[in-house]
Subunit: 193 residues, 2 copies
Amino acid sequence: MTVNYLLANGFKVHDYAKGEVIYPPDAAPRAVYFIKSGKVKMVTVNAEGQEFIQGIFKANDYFGEPALILNKPYLAYTIAMQDCEIIPVYRDTFFKFLDENTVFSRKLIQNLSERLFYKSMMLEELANEQAEHRIRTLLNYLFKDLDKDAELKVTRQQLADMAGLRVETVIRTIKKLAAQAELKLVRGKLIKV
Amino acid sequence: MTVNYLLANGFKVHDYAKGEVIYPPDAAPRAVYFIKSGKVKMVTVNAEGQEFIQGIFKANDYFGEPALILNKPYLAYTIAMQDCEIIPVYRDTFFKFLDENTVFSRKLIQNLSERLFYKSMMLEELANEQAEHRIRTLLNYLFKDLDKDAELKVTRQQLADMAGLRVETVIRTIKKLAAQAELKLVRGKLIKV
DNA sequence: GTCCAATTGTGACCTGGATCATAAATTGAC
DNA sequence: GTCAATTTATGATCCAGGTCACAATTGGAC
Protein backbone atom coordinates (compact mmCIF):
# COMPACT_ATOMS: atom_id res chain seq x y z
CA MET A 1 0.00 0.00 0.00
CA THR A 2 1.67 3.15 -1.29
CA VAL A 3 0.44 6.56 -2.37
CA ASN A 4 0.88 5.51 -6.00
CA TYR A 5 -1.12 2.33 -5.47
CA LEU A 6 -3.90 4.30 -3.80
CA LEU A 7 -4.00 6.88 -6.61
CA ALA A 8 -4.02 4.17 -9.27
CA ASN A 9 -6.94 2.50 -7.50
CA GLY A 10 -9.16 5.51 -7.29
CA PHE A 11 -8.81 6.42 -3.62
CA LYS A 12 -10.02 9.95 -2.92
CA VAL A 13 -7.51 12.70 -2.12
CA HIS A 14 -8.42 15.24 0.55
CA ASP A 15 -6.87 18.72 0.63
CA TYR A 16 -5.82 20.34 3.88
CA ALA A 17 -4.71 23.98 4.16
CA LYS A 18 -1.61 24.97 6.09
CA GLY A 19 -2.41 24.94 9.80
CA GLU A 20 -5.52 22.78 9.45
CA VAL A 21 -6.07 20.04 12.03
CA ILE A 22 -6.35 16.59 10.47
CA TYR A 23 -7.38 15.06 13.79
CA PRO A 24 -7.31 16.25 17.40
CA PRO A 25 -6.45 14.30 20.54
CA ASP A 26 -9.25 12.17 22.03
CA ALA A 27 -10.93 11.70 18.66
CA ALA A 28 -11.79 8.12 17.73
CA PRO A 29 -9.55 6.85 14.90
CA ARG A 30 -11.29 5.95 11.65
CA ALA A 31 -8.48 5.77 9.10
CA VAL A 32 -4.81 5.66 8.30
CA TYR A 33 -3.64 8.75 6.43
CA PHE A 34 -1.27 8.58 3.45
CA ILE A 35 0.45 11.81 2.43
CA LYS A 36 0.49 12.53 -1.31
CA SER A 37 2.09 15.95 -0.87
CA GLY A 38 2.93 18.33 1.97
CA LYS A 39 4.10 17.83 5.52
CA VAL A 40 2.31 17.28 8.82
CA LYS A 41 3.37 17.48 12.44
CA MET A 42 2.04 15.30 15.22
CA VAL A 43 2.01 17.33 18.44
CA THR A 44 0.86 16.88 22.00
CA VAL A 45 -0.10 20.03 23.87
CA ASN A 46 -0.20 20.40 27.63
CA ALA A 47 -2.60 22.45 29.76
CA GLU A 48 -0.36 25.54 29.41
CA GLY A 49 -0.41 25.28 25.62
CA GLN A 50 3.17 24.06 25.44
CA GLU A 51 3.68 21.90 22.32
CA PHE A 52 5.78 18.80 21.92
CA ILE A 53 6.43 17.50 18.40
CA GLN A 54 6.02 13.73 18.52
CA GLY A 55 6.87 13.35 14.85
CA ILE A 56 6.91 14.95 11.42
CA PHE A 57 5.54 13.14 8.38
CA LYS A 58 6.18 13.99 4.72
CA ALA A 59 5.08 12.88 1.24
CA ASN A 60 4.71 9.08 0.95
CA ASP A 61 4.65 8.64 4.72
CA TYR A 62 1.52 7.52 6.53
CA PHE A 63 0.35 8.19 10.05
CA GLY A 64 -2.37 7.38 12.52
CA GLU A 65 -2.11 3.57 12.45
CA PRO A 66 -1.20 2.90 16.09
CA ALA A 67 -4.43 4.45 17.42
CA LEU A 68 -6.48 2.69 14.71
CA ILE A 69 -4.84 -0.65 15.42
CA LEU A 70 -5.35 -0.38 19.17
CA ASN A 71 -8.72 1.29 18.72
CA LYS A 72 -7.76 3.92 21.29
CA PRO A 73 -8.39 7.66 21.03
CA TYR A 74 -5.56 9.71 19.54
CA LEU A 75 -3.02 11.20 21.95
CA ALA A 76 -1.89 14.02 19.69
CA TYR A 77 -3.00 16.64 17.22
CA THR A 78 -1.99 16.10 13.65
CA ILE A 79 -1.65 19.42 11.85
CA ALA A 80 -0.75 20.34 8.27
CA MET A 81 2.53 22.30 8.29
CA GLN A 82 1.87 23.36 4.69
CA ASP A 83 -0.90 22.78 2.19
CA CYS A 84 -1.27 19.00 1.98
CA GLU A 85 -2.94 16.35 -0.15
CA ILE A 86 -3.84 13.37 2.00
CA ILE A 87 -5.49 10.05 1.24
CA PRO A 88 -7.47 8.51 4.12
CA VAL A 89 -7.69 4.72 4.08
CA TYR A 90 -10.54 3.62 6.28
CA ARG A 91 -10.41 0.88 8.91
CA ASP A 92 -11.77 -2.13 7.04
CA THR A 93 -9.87 -1.42 3.85
CA PHE A 94 -6.66 -0.98 5.78
CA PHE A 95 -7.03 -4.15 7.86
CA LYS A 96 -8.04 -6.20 4.83
CA PHE A 97 -4.97 -5.01 2.96
CA LEU A 98 -2.79 -5.67 5.98
CA ASP A 99 -3.98 -9.28 6.26
CA GLU A 100 -3.64 -10.01 2.58
CA ASN A 101 -0.30 -8.41 1.99
CA THR A 102 2.73 -9.82 3.75
CA VAL A 103 5.08 -7.31 2.16
CA PHE A 104 3.14 -4.33 3.45
CA SER A 105 2.71 -5.94 6.83
CA ARG A 106 6.48 -6.41 7.08
CA LYS A 107 7.06 -2.80 5.97
CA LEU A 108 4.65 -1.56 8.65
CA ILE A 109 6.52 -3.54 11.29
CA GLN A 110 9.76 -1.92 10.14
CA ASN A 111 8.17 1.50 10.15
CA LEU A 112 6.83 1.10 13.70
CA SER A 113 10.23 -0.18 14.80
CA GLU A 114 11.90 2.94 13.41
CA ARG A 115 9.51 5.21 15.25
CA LEU A 116 10.17 3.26 18.45
CA PHE A 117 13.89 3.76 17.96
CA TYR A 118 13.48 7.51 17.56
CA LYS A 119 11.23 7.76 20.61
CA SER A 120 13.57 5.63 22.72
CA MET A 121 16.45 7.87 21.73
CA MET A 122 14.52 11.03 22.60
CA LEU A 123 13.25 9.59 25.89
CA GLU A 124 16.82 8.90 26.97
CA GLU A 125 17.74 12.47 26.02
CA LEU A 126 14.79 14.12 27.78
CA ALA A 127 15.21 11.95 30.87
CA ASN A 128 18.96 12.15 31.31
CA GLU A 129 20.67 14.76 29.18
CA GLN A 130 21.26 18.50 29.38
CA ALA A 131 20.19 20.98 26.74
CA GLU A 132 23.47 20.94 24.80
CA HIS A 133 23.54 17.14 24.54
CA ARG A 134 19.87 16.99 23.55
CA ILE A 135 20.29 19.48 20.76
CA ARG A 136 23.50 17.87 19.53
CA THR A 137 21.75 14.46 19.34
CA LEU A 138 18.69 15.91 17.65
CA LEU A 139 20.71 17.90 15.08
CA ASN A 140 22.83 14.82 14.41
CA TYR A 141 19.70 12.85 13.70
CA LEU A 142 18.23 15.54 11.45
CA PHE A 143 21.49 16.21 9.61
CA LYS A 144 21.92 12.45 9.02
CA ASP A 145 20.65 12.29 5.46
CA LEU A 146 21.80 15.75 4.37
CA ASP A 147 24.98 16.59 2.45
CA LYS A 148 27.74 18.87 3.70
CA ASP A 149 26.79 22.56 3.29
CA ALA A 150 23.12 21.66 2.96
CA GLU A 151 20.66 23.72 4.98
CA LEU A 152 18.55 22.08 7.65
CA LYS A 153 15.12 23.63 7.14
CA VAL A 154 13.81 23.71 10.66
CA THR A 155 13.16 26.65 12.96
CA ARG A 156 14.62 27.04 16.48
CA GLN A 157 11.06 26.84 17.77
CA GLN A 158 10.54 23.47 16.09
CA LEU A 159 13.80 22.16 17.54
CA ALA A 160 12.71 23.41 20.96
CA ASP A 161 9.38 21.62 20.56
CA MET A 162 11.17 18.40 19.61
CA ALA A 163 13.76 18.59 22.41
CA GLY A 164 11.48 19.72 25.23
CA LEU A 165 13.28 23.05 25.58
CA ARG A 166 12.48 26.74 25.14
CA VAL A 167 13.33 28.62 21.99
CA GLU A 168 15.78 30.92 23.82
CA THR A 169 17.71 27.91 25.10
CA VAL A 170 17.89 26.44 21.59
CA ILE A 171 19.11 29.75 20.15
CA ARG A 172 21.83 30.10 22.77
CA THR A 173 22.91 26.46 22.49
CA ILE A 174 23.07 26.52 18.70
CA LYS A 175 25.35 29.56 18.81
CA LYS A 176 27.57 27.63 21.18
CA LEU A 177 27.62 24.56 18.91
CA ALA A 178 28.40 26.80 15.92
CA ALA A 179 31.29 28.37 17.89
CA GLN A 180 32.57 24.82 18.45
CA ALA A 181 32.28 24.28 14.65
CA GLU A 182 29.72 21.49 15.05
CA LEU A 183 27.62 23.27 12.45
CA LYS A 184 27.71 26.51 10.44
CA LEU A 185 25.39 29.48 10.83
CA VAL A 186 24.79 31.54 7.69
CA ARG A 187 22.38 34.38 8.38
CA GLY A 188 20.66 32.27 10.99
CA LYS A 189 20.41 29.20 8.73
CA LEU A 190 21.67 25.86 10.03
CA ILE A 191 24.30 24.50 7.65
CA LYS A 192 25.78 21.01 7.96
CA VAL A 193 29.58 20.88 8.19
CA MET B 1 4.57 -17.64 18.48
CA THR B 2 4.14 -17.92 22.22
CA VAL B 3 6.24 -19.25 25.06
CA ASN B 4 4.04 -22.38 25.13
CA TYR B 5 4.49 -22.94 21.41
CA LEU B 6 8.24 -22.58 21.74
CA LEU B 7 8.41 -25.00 24.67
CA ALA B 8 6.23 -27.54 22.87
CA ASN B 9 8.54 -27.32 19.87
CA GLY B 10 11.76 -27.97 21.67
CA PHE B 11 13.24 -24.47 21.78
CA LYS B 12 16.05 -24.19 24.33
CA VAL B 13 15.52 -22.22 27.53
CA HIS B 14 18.39 -20.11 28.83
CA ASP B 15 18.69 -19.18 32.52
CA TYR B 16 19.77 -15.71 33.61
CA ALA B 17 20.57 -14.80 37.21
CA LYS B 18 19.21 -11.64 38.81
CA GLY B 19 21.24 -8.67 37.60
CA GLU B 20 22.67 -10.46 34.58
CA VAL B 21 22.90 -8.55 31.31
CA ILE B 22 21.01 -10.25 28.47
CA TYR B 23 22.42 -7.82 25.93
CA PRO B 24 24.25 -4.49 26.17
CA PRO B 25 23.87 -1.41 23.97
CA ASP B 26 25.79 -1.40 20.67
CA ALA B 27 25.67 -5.19 20.43
CA ALA B 28 24.42 -6.60 17.12
CA PRO B 29 20.98 -8.19 17.48
CA ARG B 30 20.79 -11.92 16.79
CA ALA B 31 17.47 -12.98 18.30
CA VAL B 32 14.12 -12.08 19.77
CA TYR B 33 13.84 -13.07 23.43
CA PHE B 34 10.71 -14.69 24.87
CA ILE B 35 10.36 -14.70 28.65
CA LYS B 36 9.23 -17.99 30.20
CA SER B 37 9.61 -16.70 33.76
CA GLY B 38 11.03 -13.69 35.53
CA LYS B 39 11.19 -10.00 34.69
CA VAL B 40 13.64 -7.86 32.73
CA LYS B 41 14.23 -4.13 32.45
CA MET B 42 15.40 -2.34 29.34
CA VAL B 43 17.52 0.63 30.38
CA THR B 44 19.61 3.29 28.69
CA VAL B 45 22.48 4.69 30.73
CA ASN B 46 24.15 8.03 30.13
CA ALA B 47 27.81 8.98 30.55
CA GLU B 48 27.26 9.81 34.24
CA GLY B 49 25.73 6.38 34.90
CA GLN B 50 22.19 7.75 35.20
CA GLU B 51 19.65 5.08 34.20
CA PHE B 52 16.42 5.49 32.31
CA ILE B 53 13.99 2.55 32.21
CA GLN B 54 12.70 2.28 28.64
CA GLY B 55 10.45 -0.64 29.49
CA ILE B 56 9.86 -3.62 31.76
CA PHE B 57 9.02 -7.04 30.35
CA LYS B 58 7.53 -9.98 32.21
CA ALA B 59 6.60 -13.65 31.64
CA ASN B 60 5.10 -14.28 28.16
CA ASP B 61 6.39 -10.94 26.84
CA TYR B 62 9.12 -10.77 24.23
CA PHE B 63 11.69 -8.09 23.56
CA GLY B 64 14.49 -7.12 21.22
CA GLU B 65 12.55 -7.29 17.93
CA PRO B 66 12.89 -3.64 16.81
CA ALA B 67 16.69 -3.80 16.67
CA LEU B 68 16.57 -7.20 14.96
CA ILE B 69 14.03 -6.04 12.41
CA LEU B 70 15.97 -2.87 11.57
CA ASN B 71 19.29 -4.69 11.91
CA LYS B 72 20.64 -1.83 14.02
CA PRO B 73 22.70 -2.16 17.20
CA TYR B 74 20.74 -2.14 20.46
CA LEU B 75 20.26 1.23 22.17
CA ALA B 76 19.72 -0.14 25.66
CA TYR B 77 20.86 -2.70 28.16
CA THR B 78 18.44 -5.51 28.92
CA ILE B 79 18.96 -6.78 32.44
CA ALA B 80 17.28 -9.54 34.48
CA MET B 81 15.48 -7.97 37.45
CA GLN B 82 15.16 -11.42 39.03
CA ASP B 83 16.22 -14.93 38.05
CA CYS B 84 14.77 -15.49 34.56
CA GLU B 85 14.15 -18.26 32.07
CA ILE B 86 14.38 -16.88 28.55
CA ILE B 87 13.98 -18.47 25.12
CA PRO B 88 15.97 -16.84 22.33
CA VAL B 89 14.47 -17.18 18.85
CA TYR B 90 17.14 -16.51 16.25
CA ARG B 91 16.81 -14.24 13.26
CA ASP B 92 15.89 -16.67 10.46
CA THR B 93 13.45 -18.65 12.56
CA PHE B 94 11.75 -15.48 13.71
CA PHE B 95 11.45 -13.95 10.25
CA LYS B 96 10.24 -17.21 8.73
CA PHE B 97 7.54 -17.47 11.38
CA LEU B 98 6.60 -13.83 10.90
CA ASP B 99 6.11 -14.29 7.15
CA GLU B 100 4.11 -17.47 7.50
CA ASN B 101 1.87 -16.46 10.33
CA THR B 102 -0.54 -13.60 9.80
CA VAL B 103 -1.96 -13.86 13.29
CA PHE B 104 1.41 -13.41 14.95
CA SER B 105 2.32 -10.65 12.52
CA ARG B 106 -0.85 -8.78 13.49
CA LYS B 107 -0.15 -9.33 17.19
CA LEU B 108 3.36 -7.94 16.76
CA ILE B 109 1.95 -4.85 15.07
CA GLN B 110 -0.40 -4.37 18.02
CA ASN B 111 2.40 -4.88 20.47
CA LEU B 112 4.65 -2.32 18.76
CA SER B 113 1.73 0.10 18.64
CA GLU B 114 1.23 -0.24 22.39
CA ARG B 115 4.86 0.47 23.10
CA LEU B 116 4.68 3.52 20.85
CA PHE B 117 1.68 4.75 22.82
CA TYR B 118 3.51 4.40 26.12
CA LYS B 119 6.60 6.16 24.77
CA SER B 120 4.55 8.98 23.24
CA MET B 121 2.82 9.49 26.56
CA MET B 122 6.11 9.56 28.46
CA LEU B 123 7.74 11.87 25.92
CA GLU B 124 4.94 14.38 26.39
CA GLU B 125 5.42 14.12 30.16
CA LEU B 126 9.21 14.48 30.09
CA ALA B 127 9.08 17.32 27.59
CA ASN B 128 6.30 19.39 29.07
CA GLU B 129 5.26 18.38 32.56
CA GLN B 130 6.52 18.98 36.09
CA ALA B 131 7.47 16.25 38.54
CA GLU B 132 4.04 15.97 40.18
CA HIS B 133 2.22 15.58 36.85
CA ARG B 134 4.76 13.07 35.58
CA ILE B 135 4.44 10.88 38.63
CA ARG B 136 0.67 11.11 38.65
CA THR B 137 0.52 10.01 35.00
CA LEU B 138 3.00 7.20 35.55
CA LEU B 139 1.25 5.91 38.68
CA ASN B 140 -2.07 6.08 36.87
CA TYR B 141 -0.65 3.97 34.10
CA LEU B 142 0.89 1.43 36.50
CA PHE B 143 -2.19 1.26 38.74
CA LYS B 144 -4.38 0.73 35.67
CA ASP B 145 -4.77 -3.03 35.87
CA LEU B 146 -4.62 -3.31 39.68
CA ASP B 147 -7.57 -3.58 42.05
CA LYS B 148 -8.34 -1.13 44.85
CA ASP B 149 -6.11 -1.73 47.90
CA ALA B 150 -3.63 -3.70 45.82
CA GLU B 151 0.03 -2.88 46.26
CA LEU B 152 2.05 -1.51 43.38
CA LYS B 153 5.32 -3.40 43.60
CA VAL B 154 7.77 -0.83 42.34
CA THR B 155 10.44 1.10 44.21
CA ARG B 156 10.75 4.89 44.29
CA GLN B 157 14.05 4.50 42.47
CA GLN B 158 12.37 2.59 39.64
CA LEU B 159 9.69 5.24 39.35
CA ALA B 160 12.42 7.89 39.28
CA ASP B 161 14.20 5.98 36.50
CA MET B 162 10.97 5.78 34.50
CA ALA B 163 10.02 9.43 34.98
CA GLY B 164 13.44 11.01 34.47
CA LEU B 165 13.56 12.28 38.07
CA ARG B 166 15.66 11.69 41.19
CA VAL B 167 14.58 9.34 43.92
CA GLU B 168 14.31 12.17 46.49
CA THR B 169 11.90 14.02 44.21
CA VAL B 170 9.76 10.90 43.77
CA ILE B 171 9.67 10.31 47.52
CA ARG B 172 8.63 13.89 48.28
CA THR B 173 6.05 13.94 45.47
CA ILE B 174 4.48 10.62 46.47
CA LYS B 175 4.01 11.87 50.02
CA LYS B 176 2.26 14.88 48.56
CA LEU B 177 0.01 12.74 46.37
CA ALA B 178 -0.79 10.52 49.36
CA ALA B 179 -1.68 13.62 51.38
CA GLN B 180 -4.08 14.51 48.55
CA ALA B 181 -5.51 10.97 48.83
CA GLU B 182 -4.50 10.04 45.29
CA LEU B 183 -2.99 6.86 46.71
CA LYS B 184 -2.41 5.29 50.11
CA LEU B 185 0.92 4.74 51.84
CA VAL B 186 1.13 1.78 54.19
CA ARG B 187 4.59 1.46 55.67
CA GLY B 188 6.07 2.94 52.51
CA LYS B 189 4.05 0.65 50.21
CA LEU B 190 2.06 2.19 47.38
CA ILE B 191 -1.59 1.17 47.68
CA LYS B 192 -4.19 1.92 45.05
CA VAL B 193 -7.27 3.82 46.26
C1' DG C 1 11.90 50.04 -2.74
C1' DT C 2 8.16 49.76 1.96
C1' DC C 3 5.62 47.10 5.45
C1' DC C 4 4.62 43.44 8.35
C1' DA C 5 5.07 39.02 10.30
C1' DA C 6 8.00 35.59 11.65
C1' DT C 7 12.21 34.34 13.40
C1' DT C 8 16.52 35.05 15.64
C1' DG C 9 19.08 37.17 19.28
C1' DT C 10 20.37 39.03 24.26
C1' DG C 11 20.31 40.36 28.97
C1' DA C 12 18.48 39.79 33.92
C1' DC C 13 16.12 37.45 37.03
C1' DC C 14 13.71 33.30 39.12
C1' DT C 15 12.56 28.58 40.39
C1' DG C 16 11.84 23.42 40.36
C1' DG C 17 14.20 19.85 41.03
C1' DA C 18 19.09 18.13 41.35
C1' DT C 19 22.63 17.40 44.60
C1' DC C 20 24.68 16.35 48.97
C1' DA C 21 24.57 14.70 53.50
C1' DT C 22 22.62 12.04 56.86
C1' DA C 23 19.06 9.38 59.29
C1' DA C 24 15.20 6.20 59.91
C1' DA C 25 12.56 2.29 58.53
C1' DT C 26 12.02 -2.05 56.27
C1' DT C 27 13.37 -6.51 54.47
C1' DG C 28 15.78 -10.63 53.98
C1' DA C 29 19.50 -13.84 55.35
C1' DC C 30 21.18 -16.39 59.04
C1' DG D 1 16.07 -13.03 67.59
C1' DT D 2 20.71 -10.10 65.12
C1' DC D 3 22.93 -7.92 61.30
C1' DA D 4 23.55 -5.92 56.81
C1' DA D 5 21.66 -4.24 52.77
C1' DT D 6 18.17 -1.89 50.66
C1' DT D 7 14.76 1.47 50.58
C1' DT D 8 12.45 5.42 52.36
C1' DA D 9 12.77 9.89 54.43
C1' DT D 10 14.20 14.92 55.27
C1' DG D 11 16.71 19.25 55.37
C1' DA D 12 19.95 22.65 53.10
C1' DT D 13 22.11 24.42 49.16
C1' DC D 14 22.81 25.11 44.21
C1' DC D 15 22.24 25.85 39.29
C1' DA D 16 20.48 24.86 34.36
C1' DG D 17 17.26 26.37 31.96
C1' DG D 18 12.70 28.66 32.21
C1' DT D 19 10.60 33.17 32.08
C1' DC D 20 10.10 37.90 30.84
C1' DA D 21 11.13 41.88 28.31
C1' DC D 22 12.88 43.83 24.30
C1' DA D 23 15.74 44.43 20.04
C1' DA D 24 17.59 43.10 15.66
C1' DT D 25 17.29 40.31 11.34
C1' DT D 26 15.20 38.07 7.70
C1' DG D 27 11.84 37.03 4.22
C1' DG D 28 7.52 37.67 1.67
C1' DA D 29 3.81 40.40 -0.20
C1' DC D 30 2.91 44.43 -2.58
